[in-house]
């Protein structure tokens, strides 16, 4: 039984291992931080969010300040998929972001059917906005008469 945890990670309940959802690579114990099985690269944010203004004219150019902010890119060691992009101040310890109770997870999935591809939920927030837009359009229309 495998449980999907993110777009790129799943937990194999039988082996209690983190696995890559793209290539099946085993990252390490599901009772531990999955990041320990990944490769990390310290990215200068100016390479991703490139300066749009002339850097000779301006200090602030829509790029993050590399002295304040770095991007830690986490890659699957086997297929090179980017699993996380973590924005941190230089030197800040990476976050232990997913720490699940594996025994509880096993119990929870005892009677559940395995999910291979996640279902897509309805985008209710967007629907509400669209409903409001329709409502507002009606009001605006009403004013004219």
């Amino acid at each position: 039984m495998k449980v999907l945890i993110t777009e790129y990670l799943r937990i194999n309940l039988d082996t209690e291992q983190w696995e890559c959802r793209r290539c099946g690579h085993v990252h390490g114990s599901a009772r531990d931080n999955y990041k320990r099985g990944l490769l990390v690269y310290d990215r200068d944010p100016r390479e991703i969010h490139k300066p749009l203004l002339d850097t000779r004219l301006y200090e602030r150019t829509y790029s993050p300040d590399p002295a304040w902010c770095r991007i830690l890119e986490y890659y699957c060691a086997s297929c090179g998929t980017m699993v996380e992009a973590e924005y941190l101040p230089p030197g800040h310890p990476p976050l232990y972001d997913i720490e699940l109770d594996i025994d509880a997870l096993k119990l929870q999935w005892k009677d559940r059917k395995e999910v291979v591809e996640p279902t897509v939920g309805p985008d209710l927030a967007l629907e509400k906005v669209k409903n409001n837009r329709a409502l507002h359009a009606d009001h605006a229309h009403g004013h004219k008469h």
């Binding site: 999907l4 990944l38 490769l39 902010c69 980017m82 310890p93 309805p122 906005v129």
Partner: protein
Amino acid sequence: MNDQISKEDKALLDKFLADNQLFLGPDPEIMRNHSLTPRSRAEDEILKKGLDNHQVHHVRGLINAALSEAFTMVNQMGAAPGAKWGDLVTGIYTAQGDLAMIAPHGIIAFAACCFYPIRFIVKYWSNDPTVGVKDGDGFIHNDARYGGIHNTDQSMMMPLFYKGELVCWLSSTIHEGENGATEPGGMPAAAESKYDEGIKMSPFKVVENFQLKRDLVTFLQNSVRDPKLQLEDMKVKLHAVMRLRERIIAILDQYGRDALIGTLRLHLEDTETEMRRRIREMPDGTTRVLQFMDSSLRENCLQKISCAITVKGDRLIMDFRGTAPQFLNRSVNTNIASFKAALCTGLLQNIWPDLPHTMAVLSPIEIITDRNSIVDAEGEMPQAMSLMPLFKGCVVWTIPMNKFNYSVPHKYSAVIASQYDQAATFIYGGLTQHGDVTGNFCGDINGNGQGARSHADGEHSVSPVFGFMCDSGEHEINEEDTPIIRLGAQRLAKDRIAWGKYRGGMGYEQIATARGSALWGFMTGCEGSKFPSAQGLFGGYSCPSYQLMKIKGINIFEELKKDPKVVEVFDIVKLMNERPIKGGKYSSNDMGMTFEVCNEGEIYMICQGSGGGYGDVLERDPALVMKDLREDLMSHENARDIYKVVYDEKTLVVDEDATKKLRDDYRRERIRRGKPFEQFCKEWVTPEPPKDIPYFGSWDNNREIYATTMGQRVKMPAEQLQGAFMLNPKDVRIMQLEGELEKVKAQLDDCRKKA
């Protein structure tokens, strides 16, 4: 001394203390409790007797319709710009002051805060012979210390008596804008203490026999820059609440008090039960997220919000310990009750939008904070720009909850990265072209880009982070009422995108100037100029950073008269790089700007921002990359460098094989340059925050908090947080310049000696 006192003595002592309390300030017993009150006797009796489910459903529908009608009244008649865009709410509360339902279109957070002042009124004014709560009374309130989002929102609260019994409370709240603060518009970033925040209404009676008390109204009008607005909207809110009252009385006449009281209580309890059921579906464990705010709106400083969400069975605990301490003299603090209202909003906006909009969704959630942190600020601190941490509270759920909910077989709503979470709008003030004093903000605040979804790109400029309203205001109306002129259309901010397999919904450019005013000015209150604000999900990138651009010392209207073609197109990047208007002072600045005078024809430019991206950029369908190019959302450089697509720039035809090869090569390049985590951490992690960054919050241990106070870095135990005192940025600048002057003088002396 004997510390055992009798019951009678204790009661006597309590009464003595209550009678002699010098000041009825915000009551921690009320302000720190966000859970439902236990059932009242009436509620318990009614629910034990049992209700007809079918009737409950019907009564709920009728209440909803009544709330919706009152909402529409305020929306159409309200004078505040915020009222026109839907920045308002109408709500109904139990007799004890628990928020039961709000109008379907309203701002959740507003109603979530009225129940604190109502509880205050119930506790303190009901039995006070000098105040009392009677049929026909109405109470006003705006100070967020007694509940509320921020002091620019004003509420009208009315008890509803039926056959002599108080059966429920009704309210209406509008984001009014102007409130007599040190800066116009109601959200003064310049406030250095709570006394700079303008009128500070604790809940008090302003309506008797359903009529506004003119003496008190005059006092309030006398305290703000826009007395007309103050009066008009007090009337509008009162009449909306009175209409709501008529509708509820009709329901009472038809179905009886048990049906109403029972429905309100049941609605709350059902919501709480459903919350617990959903929490149980999530895996047990802890997920975490960090948010970094890079500005106090007066200076750049890095403040951390640390959030760990723990699920255990049907318990959900949000732990904010390790977060930055509060500022003593900066207004970007929030009290805990306002922060919880933001959390409630965020949960309903981002995670479970299908749940009823009541405070009961937050009721089963436990919240842990460090006292005196920036999200649990207390005392004399200002909190007029509490929007900064509050907006973070709205989106704080998205990343950690998706890490829980992705595994849950049934999805109640889509998996979405963080929405752009800054109030990217112009706040303004001054004299209008009609000679009236005014101060308020533009509707662009409602145009935050949506986060990317697990199945699609985010929608552009979709809504604010605090509600589902959509309208970003009509500039024509704005131009009739104020001297603000919009230069050019609202162009989507090209290349300012959160990249990913799916990209974030984008924001648009706002280019403004003023014309025909004797005195006009703008302010802006956003973070994210150094450290991006909207976070990506599952390998998606965050939004870029955004800046405030200015062209000062020119008059664009004169320039256009001289040469109508002086500006080819009002596009921020082009204007700043090509500098077509000669003699202008072009500058790129932090997005936090306190009130500044805008002379006729000077130009101010900001952007609404992009929501976070979703997934690995290398998985983005090349067809979507071409679509972004066709829609001119992005330049070729980014299509190649970020998305690694090989295509013909003229025809936009993709070379699929070459793209696959380029992407495969790039994956190998990643593997080559990436370091194993342990090794990386050894090289990366530093024992303390960088010395040259004013850093606030924990670093590696959330029980130790860093701050910079009076210009000095300090470290303190999280249990004993002290607010940080910031130096005046002008003094800091003077010190820098004096230092430079000293250096130059010394050099000059040396030269002289040598000569």
